[in-house]
Amino acid sequence: MKSLSERQINDHIRRAASAMTPKYAEELWEKPVEKADGDAWFLDGTKQKRKRPLRRYMRWTALAAACFAIVFISWFQLFHMTDATIYLDVNPSISVDVNCMGRVLDAAADNEDGRILLDQMNLRNADIDAAMSELLTSMVRHGYLSRTQNTLLLSVSGRNEKRAEALRQRISSDAEQALSTLLGQGIILEQNVDPDDTVDEISEHYGITPGKAALILKLLKDRPSWDLKELAGMPMADLIRSCQTAGIDISHYLGEGGEVIGDLNSLLDPDERDRDDDNDDDPDRDDDRENHEKNQPKKEEQEDHEKDQLKKSEHHSKDESSERKANNSDDSDDDDDGDERKAAHPTGSGRNDADRNESKAAHPPGSERNDDDADDKKDKEQDDGKGKKKDSDRDRDEVEADDD
């Protein structure tokens, strides 16, 4: 046979099959048949044909959906998930959530002063650098930050350690620049934090950030006689002064990677605030006082407010002192006790320079020591060990409630 192409072969097969096929059409039409139902055996597999196109489309649809889900999740994580939280404590305490890109997702106040600040600004979606600048400027404007109250605690908590560290350095640099521009200089305490339940509870209860709560808890481990509530209520500058008075280097409590930017000693150095009119290099207390009175009118209102707060806390602490005495039975050195007590209860009655410095730990520099304070101190000394049962019972209950 001659060479055949595929077409020719198929043609031969077609003709051959046609010749073989019987012609039964008429007979088949005449035969009676029953109508089949849908599950007749000879129809098995006939419906599969429909699934095929769908299956192919479903495969592509599933793939497209998976790609979309991956893209969406990545986008969400980048832009809408909190990657780190920044805690700012001056006296206002503010927490700022940021995403991977350094954009602010949310800013929350942990205390009333923080709420006052945040009510006047909208930081959502702002770049963290701009947000920091705006926050610090506002704090200066409201008097929370000043030349004498120029200390802030900057804590960062993040999902990724490296990113959190990089963020902390970035905003620390922003803060340093802002404080330098606004106040000439500033002190920044930096730390990384990983808040646990205890820290969160304390921060929520006392209206401070977890950053400050974590720092205070570390201080209290070494100084159990100090009052948590009082420390929580202190502005950062006063807290540092209290530590320095007690001979504590607060930088040791900032944890691994924590650091201090600025000169801590400047908080206690009188010469820094010396407005020596006669240039004799002697400490001029009268000059200082006058100039402070002239230049810081707003401070008085703040000081009055703080005094009121201190008075209230003193009432609560009157009976705590007797309790503390019992707890401090191991301390043989009375002077150390005194210093510690004064550091925690900075309303000291001592009229020497050391005492005055200690008292400044709670009262911003330039605040007046008045008769009320002296009387309160006297009363406190008289009541040590005695206790006024009427108030003490109530106070004790309040303290216990606070401590729960």
């Binding site: 072969i9 031969h12 097969i13 099959a17 059409a25 088949l28 039409w29 129809l43 599969q48 044909k49």
Partner: protein, 191 residues
């Protein structure tokens, strides 16, 4: 000779895929005889050849073909227009053949030489046609034979054949190509 061949072998143009109007089925379901006859005219030969490639017996293949068209009549109202009427028909044919194959499994097998004669190729008058079909059934593996029958007689695409036979497309293409080559070799070697 060439002219003679041209006259004798004047066939309809190369047959592409059988184009079946899907509206035939609802018409058959409603009792339209003309629709049934049209369907039989177009599909009886491919159905028969496909059944023959499975059952390897002319008698059984004729029964299977008849049963196929009776089932088509009984299930025409269930046909869903999916654009592949041939696949629907051949699936019915396959199911019927498999049923018969299982039933026949218990009966005695014919000797090899009788099985070939049993195919009924002697009824094909044209020698080349007969030789080609005979070679396809005797020389080729069963799968290749089946694939060639479906493609040559119905014009079904290889993808559709792969779906019908539940095989990968690449396997179908490969078997088809090897089958055609083998047939060509066998036929060219003949006088």
């Amino acid at each position: 000779m060439l002219i003679f061949e041209a006259v004798v072998y004047e066939t309809p143009p190369q047959q592409a895929e059988i184009l079946l109007d899907e509206s035939l089925f609802p018409r058959i379901a409603s009792g339209d005889k003309a629709a049934f006859l049209a369907l039989y005219e177009k599909c009886s030969s491919p159905v028969f050849a496909y059944a023959l490639s499975i059952l390897r017996s002319r008698g059984d293949s004729e029964d299977a073909m008849q049963d196929t068209f009776l089932k088509i009549r009984s299930a025409a109202h269930l046909y869903q227009p999916l654009g592949k009427p041939l696949a629907w028909i051949f699936t019915i044919t396959r199911n019927i053949c498999l049923m018969m194959y299982r039933q026949r499994a218990h009966t005695a097998q014919l000797p090899e030489e009788d099985r070939v004669q049993d195919l009924g190729f002697d009824r094909i008058q044209n020698a080349e046609d007969r030789m080609t079909l005979e070679k396809a059934f005797t020389v080729l593996p069963e799968d290749s034979c089946r694939i060639i029958m479906l493609h040559a007689l119905s014009g079904m695409k290889h993808r559709e054949i792969a779906e019908l036979m539940n095989m990968p497309l690449s396997t179908v293409l490969s078997k088809y190509k090897r089958g055609i080559e083998k047939l060509r070799t066998e036929l060219e070697g003949m006088p």
